[in-house]
């Protein structure tokens, strides 16, 4: 009986400590008051893993330090885990029960990471107004089985980037980038004819993940009016006239010589006219642009519709303990507040994840005055599609790319490649 009493007492004490610790973090307004009031609870120790380096890592660490200044009851440790090792390390730590409290990774990883099974539902942990302000295409990615298992912390998308110097040399107006596929083709042909350099880089090889090819191709697929998978991710949906149109566009680009097969990277070296590039390139090149480059919205077929692909990082909270989950959510709520989203976006060149910031006069003024090349990306967020939200996505992406590259290499026709890709993707889904 005595032992039981002691256990109950210990339990109550523990609960008190938890609430004491979690209390102040609930209100972001005046944390100093409550922490100095009663018994000083031990600060919640939370760890965050991310794969950023350079400016992004420095900015993130500085912001974490800022947060600590106003939130002394939470102690945050950040670790940089290289992108290529991230999932492997996460798997290992799941086995040894040493998961971080927050993992910030590529959004396509979310359904896979969710399989660990210990992700907290952020819908109940974050204030409703924070979640509802996030771009819905981004939150859709972390919505699995009715749970909000992740929230975005940064976003990017793909647009048309071009070399203004080469445009001039080819006799094109560098202030008039193409807006349709037809114009893109014509401009690229003119660049090839006048300068001998490839007019438009294409990502033509599957490599060991396929995603480079797949996620670039999806932009054109959506623009042509196609879909990648059925809405419930139960089967391939790209083997349609729209899919054929998109793939035919790529094959025509290669056959006409403006996009040499297997030569991705010419544009980035300054040896190519244009390419479909991510918004992060603006950030990478901001300090020291290698050549005079311009950005325009991704050109789409004259009878199609604007579309781009959505990328970025999402934060997931592992439910290591109630106190840690709560403290983690408190940090994320702070990170997603207007001031922080603005600061993060302006310093790193990533796109704002909340609608209020993306449309705020302050942010748009900053883009126009100091980073106008980001404007097409910001405007495109309205047309951005998310990739299918399924743990099978990495396998689907590779299976798709392995078949499509045969058409790009001239080993299969457009129809054959799409039919083979459909078969391969459906086999992956059936395999489960």
């Amino acid at each position: 009986m005595h032992r039981h009493l002691r256990l109950v007492a210990a339990g109550v004490a523990g609960l008190l400590a938890l609430t004491g610790c979690a209390g102040p973090s609930g209100s972001t307004a005046a944390p100093a008051v409550s922490s100095s009031a009663s018994a000083p609870a031990a600060p919640a120790q939370i760890t965050i893993w991310h794969y950023w380096d350079g400016t992004n890592a420095d900015t993130f660490d500085a912001m974490v330090a800022d947060y600590q200044k106003s939130h002394p009851q939470v102690k945050i440790t950040t670790s940089m885990v290289p992108n290529a090792d991230f999932l492997t390390k996460l798997r290992a730590s799941a086995t040894s029960k040493t998961l971080p409290d927050i993992a910030i990774g590529d959004l396509v990883w979310v359904p896979q990471i969710n399989q660990i099974g210990t992700l907290a539902d952020l819908k109940s942990l974050l204030p409703a107004e924070v979640v509802s302000d996030i771009n819905p295409a981004l939150t859709s990615f972390g919505t699995i089985g009715g749970k909000q298992v992740s929230v975005p912390v940064s976003a990017n998308n793909l647009a048309y980037m071009y070399n203004k110097t080469l445009f001039k040399q080819a006799g094109l107006d560098p202030e008039k980038p193409p807006t349709t596929w037809e114009e893109l083709m014509a401009d690229a042909k003119q660049i090839l004819a006048k300068t001998g350099k490839p007019g438009y880089d294409l990502y033509t090889q599957a490599g060991d993940s396929g995603e480079g090819l797949t996620w670039n191709f999806q932009v054109n697929l959506w623009q042509a009016g196609g879909e990648f998978l059925k809405a419930d991710n139960s089967a391939a949906a790209f083997n349609t006239p729209q899919g054929k149109k998109a793939l035919q566009f790529w094959v025509d680009l290669i056959k006409s010589g403006v996009s040499p097969y297997a030569k991705w990277g010419e544009f980035e070296k300054g040896k190519g006219g244009s390419a479909q590039e991510g918004s992060w390139m603006v950030g990478i090149w901001a300090a020291d642009p290698p050549f005079d480059f311009g950005v325009a919205k991704a050109p789409y077929p004259s009878d199609g519709k604007p579309a781009t692909n959505l990328g970025g990082e999402q934060a997931m909270v592992f439910n290591n303990s109630d106190a840690n989950a709560k403290a983690s959510a408190d940090f994320l709520a702070w990170f997603l507040s207007a001031d922080q989203v603005t600061k993060w976006s302006e310093t790193t060149g990533m796109l704002p994840v909340t609608n209020s910031v993306a449309t705020s006069a302050g942010y748009l003024d900053w883009v126009k005055s100091s980073q106008p090349r980001l404007l097409p990306y910001v405007e495109q967020m309205a047309d951005a599609h998310a990739r299918p939200n399924t743990p099978l996505y990495p396998k689907i992406s590779l299976a798709f790319a392995q078949q499509i590259e045969k058409a790009l290499a001239g080993e299969a026709t457009v129809d054959e490649a799409l039919a083979a890709a459909e078969k391969a993707v459906n086999a992956v889904i059936a395999q489960g």
Binding site: D208, P394, A409
Partner: protein, 315 residues
């Protein structure tokens, strides 16, 4: 390589108790205890870091584990059945076998040729030996990157060909050319090592036999054909086994050089396994590939053993 050395050594001195040793020694209890005490630490380390992981991997290969789910769904031999029907696996196996054969033949020929040259009385021999050994100590990643630049459509190789009016192909975009290039790269990388092996064996050959052959009027070619090559066969066996193991385990060179491309043309088993397990998170299937690779290497080595005899002399 360590494995191959082990193989050779155990072959040279047959373990006591085997039919080859005439008398079986009796060990007294004290000796057994002493041996056990000395062996125990090594056995514990081996058990924890070698045997247990192999067994654990064997167990994972019977599941469809995705690396994340705490549950490892048991599928029995399902992964192995899936392998048998997977065109990617058969492609990978064909590529690996072709690559391994190429590497074996070329390693023996090039290693022996260079060793014979280096064995000759030459001025500045040390310099030549260092030059041939340089690729061995160069990192695989650096070597692969340099070769990739050399074979670029506008790289050095095609520029030189252009001087002679030949339009060079896009080497790494044709599956057979790419596999050939990978084989040459691997052989080139290890040429110095194989040459050193042959050189050691050459210098250990008894002079008296050559003198006797010389008295009988044998020409240099006859000496090479009938004396040197047969006498070197234990070393040839070692070079072949080592080349086989290297090519069945190939990964780093391939990963940097071609990533398994073009369109699966250089997709060796190591690459296939890495992609399956670590890129696609299909750990059960990935470990099954690893086990099949292990079985293949073991099998090939055993067959060779039967054919040539464990000490390399033909039976």
């Amino acid at each position: 390589m360590a494995q191959a050395q082990l193989v050779i050594r155990s072959g040279e001195t047959p373990p006591s108790g085997s039919p080859r040793s005439p008398r079986r020694r009796r060990y007294d209890r004290e000796q057994v205890i002493t041996a056990a005490v000395f062996l125990a630490p090594a056995l514990v380390v081996l058990a924890v870091f070698v045997f247990y992981p192999i067994l654990a991997a064997g167990q994972i290969s019977l599941t469809s584990w995705n690396g994340f789910d705490p549950v490892q769904p048991f599928v029995g031999l399902g992964n192995y059945q899936r392998l048998a029907q997977d065109p990617e696996f058969w492609n990978s196996l064909a590529v690996t076998v072709g690559y391994a054969l190429g590497v074996c033949v070329l390693s023996v020929v090039s290693g022996l040729a260079i060793a014979l040259l280096l064995d000759a009385p030459l001025r500045g021999l040390g310099i030549y030996r260092s030059i041939y050994f340089l690729p061995v100590v160069t990192s695989s990643v650096a070597a692969a990157i340099v070769w990739r630049y050399l074979l670029d459509p506008s790289g050095l190789v095609n520029s030189v060909l252009a001087q002679f009016g030949i339009a060079g192909p896009d080497w790494l975009q044709d599956r057979y050319l790419a596999l050939g290039a990978l084989t040459l790269l691997t052989v080139w990388k290890n040429i110095g090592f194989n040459a050193v092996l042959y050189l050691t064996a050459l210098q250990a050959l008894p002079h008296s036999i050559y003198e006797a052959a010389g008295l009988d009027g044998a020409s240099g070619w006859q000496k090479l054909r009938h004396l040197t090559i047969p006498l070197l066969s234990p070393m040839t066996f070692f070079v072949v086994v080592q080349a086989l193991i290297t090519s069945f385990q190939a990964f780093d060179l391939v990963y940097v050089f071609t990533e398994g491309g073009p369109r699966g043309g250089t997709d060796v088993l190591g690459m296939f396994m890495y992609r399956t397990a670590f890129r696609l998170g299909d750990f059960g299937y990935g470990t099954a590939i690893a086990f099949v690779t292990l079985a293949l290497v073991l099998g090939v080595t055993l067959v060779q053993w039967r054919v040539t005899g464990s000490d390399g002399t033909e039976r």
